[in-house]
């Protein structure tokens, strides 16, 4: 909209993206700029606190919530390439800080302007990628937190439908957990393994060349299992495909 000031976005990169797969962060940044946002990456961010929150360590989780809120208060929107970290901010922070008179309102304000990237692009910015091509078949896994806590299902699919040449295949049990569950996958490794094995089998049966999802944690779990099984499925975060970056190495592939 010419003349109107561009919305400012604080990009939260998530600790996994920061360490394991920075290109997801860069793809997110690119998409946000293409959609017409002014993007900044606050330096005071680290981890959203989800591991502490899910372990019952509310004190540490609340510390990290306050730190994150303080770092992002100045932006119109907070955007993340992860449904589960977004859900932590949207639902977890207000709950964690509900009894804190100084922070309860700030947590609610933060929650109200926090978005997962595909829902932000589709619902808030009305963005659709233009001129993207990818000749491949792909299947999509709905990560649980994004799906059930934030209602993300239609947005990534709608965005992906703009990528020319991309053939989307249904994944039976697409809304069934992959067994990642944050610390669950190491605390109850055997159970997690049984769950992700079933997921990998379902993915392999689709025959799709690519597996896409919106959360790096789940992707690492599924990609790691697929690789251990010797499957050739290549795994990408949705934003990498949307940003036209899926020609490069997939998760677990080394850049040449």
């Amino acid at each position: 909209m010419p003349g109107e000031p561009k919305p400012t976005v604080g990009l939260f990169v998530t600790c996994l993206v920061d360490a394991i797969r920075p290109q997801i962060g860069f793809a997110t940044l690119q998409l946000l700029e293409e959609a017409g946002c002014v993007v900044e990456v606050p330096q005071a961010q680290t981890c959203c606190g989800q591991p502490a929150l899910n372990s019952g360590d509310d004190r540490d989780a609340a510390h990290l919530a306050r730190q994150t809120i303080a770092a992002f208060e100045g932006y119109d929107h907070v955007v993340l390439p992860s449904g589960s970290c977004a859900a932590t901010m949207v639902h977890g922070y207000p709950e964690l800080l509900a009894g804190d008179p100084d922070w309860a309102a700030r947590a609610r304000a933060m929650a109200a302007k926090t978005h997962e990237i595909t829902s932000f692009l589709a619902d808030v910015m009305g963005y659709a990628p233009a001129g993207r091509r990818l000749q491949a078949s792909a299947t999509y896994h709905d990560s649980c937190s994004g799906l059930r806590e934030l209602g993300i299902a239609a947005q990534p699919r709608a965005l992906l439908s703009h990528v020319e040449g991309l053939e989307m295949r249904g994944l039976p049990g697409n809304d069934v957990c992959c067994g990642f569950g944050g610390t669950f996958c190491v605390k109850y490794a055997d159970i997690s393994n049984a769950i992700v094995t079933e997921k990998a089998e379902a993915i392999e049966e689709t025959g799709a060349e690519l597996l896409l999802a919106g959360d790096l944690g789940c992707l690492m779990n599924m990609a790691g299992k697929l690789n251990r099984r010797g499957a050739k499925t290549r795994c990408f975060h949705t934003v990498e495909v949307l940003a036209g970056r899926a020609e490069g190495p997939a998760i677990g592939e080394e850049a040449p």
């Binding site: 360490a19 591991p51 251990r228 677990g252």
Partner: protein, 467 residues
């Protein structure tokens, strides 16, 4: 008791027949429920109503309990109050012994399991016969129920044939389901007619009529409660509803969520013992109202759990239950609802694994017909477990260390700058196949090799270059 749960889970995971049995039953239940809901567009409204009914009753429990007692007593039933499982067991055994009962038939009741009734009856020297087909199967196998709707769902048809062959005199002539059911009928019919006492549970206690309501798909509750001289109902105090209409509102939710049916085959109301002129019915009716932790839940953060109508949908849709089955949970109630209830019943120290062994994927809450936020309640147990120091030391240390680091962004950046290249040393090509301290991960899957430089480092370098 960290090890026992994990051991039980591991044993279950290693049993392919168990997995087959679970997949057959829960898979069917999932499909049927989905079809039933597709044909029931008012489901959301019905669910909101069900939730409101239960919340109302829970908020006015004392009122409805008094009303129920008054009306049930007026119908000639004797109402007993049990504060805990021991008291409930004692009341039931006392009634049995006073009646000089030798043989007791029992229609499925999870509450009976919760209060340890089977053992109590055995200790009192009373023969107990389970009349539900599935309960009959697990009684032959000497097991506890593994699901609240299909207690024997962990057993395949083939295994049941074996049990019947060994346990029925004479054994069934063939292994087809019809012949086996006939055989069970023959064995059970004798017991129905010679039992001194019939014990049943109740799905609803109806305050304004003083009646109890029990639903089954086999009609065995009728045969358990009608011929014997005495009928004992054991029920949790949260089973109250204001009126019959409310019971039906909940019944619609219960059946669709549990089996995907529209109606149960049998829905029976018991309102007091036989009156003069009645064709049949017991001479005495006793109702044992059991608290066993429920009023405590009323006052704490687990209050919403009192809405549970025991439909089993949460376990049918749970990824963990579907891998390990009900016995691995180790309590009376398995699956997500059991993981919330077992710490109430058995204490958190003995069951802290249960609320933890959950991926928090939220599917249970999505399917729960009365909208119980199961993941939120599980998180509440984790919080309590953390606060009470029940979580294992290494986990506490790990989370604490991580949080300390994450609270210092500059130190955090430094740590990633040093840590990532170090971690990369464990990898070949793009994957790490073994990583010290991450054995839980790498035992089963590869780990993508981390980036040489974090996003933050790369981003900052770009920003500098731009300036």
């Amino acid at each position: 008791m960290t090890a026992p749960f994990k051991d039980r889970a591991r044993a279950a995971l290693a049993d392919p027949v168990l997995k087959l049995a679970i997949d057959r039953t829960t898979g069917n239940a999932e499909r049927k429920r989905a079809a039933a809901l597709a044909a029931f567009p008012e489901f959301d409204a019905a669910r909101a109503r069900g939730r409101a009914i239960k919340d109302h009753v829970v908020a006015h429990l004392d009122h409805y309990l008094e009303l129920f007692e008054k009306n049930a007593t007026a119908r000639g039933a004797q109402v007993h109050w049990a504060a805990d499982d021991a008291e409930a067991r004692a009341i039931v055994t006392r009634i049995c012994l006073a009646a000089d009962a030798k043989l007791v038939t029992r229609a499925k009741s999870m509450l009976g399991e919760e209060i340890g009734l089977p053992h109590a009856l055995a200790d009192a020297g009373i023969e107990r016969v389970e009349t539900d087909l599935a309960e009959h199967i697990i009684q032959l196998a000497g097991e506890a129920p593994s699901h609240i709707i299909w207690p024997a769902m962990h057993r395949t048809r083939e295994q049941v044939a074996e049990l019947f062959k060994a346990g029925h005199q004479p054994p069934p002539a063939a292994e087809d389901p019809a012949t086996m059911v006939q055989s069970a009928r023959r064995v059970l019919r004798e017991k129905f007619l010679s039992a001194d006492i019939g014990i049943s549970g109740a799905n609803f206690l109806i305050a304004d009529t003083g009646a109890t309501c029990t639903v089954t798909n086999e009609g065995n509750a009728e045969l358990t409660t009608t011929p014997p001289r005495i009928h004992i109902v054991t029920a949790g105090i949260e089973k109250l509803v204001p009126s019959t209409a409310h019971a039906f509102a909940l019944l619609r939710l219960l059946v669709r969520s549990a089996t995907g049916g529209e109606m149960t085959q049998y829905t029976t109301f018991h309102a007091g013992p036989r009156r003069p002129g009645d064709a049949d019915g017991p001479e005495e009716m006793h109702i044992v109202l059991v608290d066993n932790g429920r009023t405590k839940m009323l006052a704490d953060e687990f209050r919403e759990m009192l809405r549970c109508i025991r439909c089993g949908a949460c376990m049918n849709h749970c990824v963990v239950y579907r891998q390990i089955g009900g016995h691995a949970y180790g309590g009376t109630y398995p699956g997500p609802m059991g993981s919330v209830l077992t710490p109430v019943l058995d204490g958190l120290a003995a069951s802290r694994d249960l609320p933890n062994a959950c991926t928090m994927n939220g599917r249970c809450a999505e399917v729960c017909p009365v909208g119980i936020p199961l993941p939120t309640l599980l998180r509440a147990w984790r919080r309590r477990s953390w606060r009470e120091g029940l979580e294992p030391g290494p986990l506490r240390a790990g989370i604490g260390l991580w949080a300390q680091l994450a609270r210092r962004p500059r130190l955090y950046r430094l740590a990633t700058r040093i840590g990532l290249p170090l971690m990369r040393l464990f990898g070949r090509s793009g994957w790490i196949a073994r990583l010290p301290l991450a054995g839980g991960w790498t035992a089963h899957r590869d780990l993508p090799r981390p980036a040489a430089r974090s996003f933050m480092d790369q981003y900052r370098a770009q920003q500098k270059a731009r300036k």
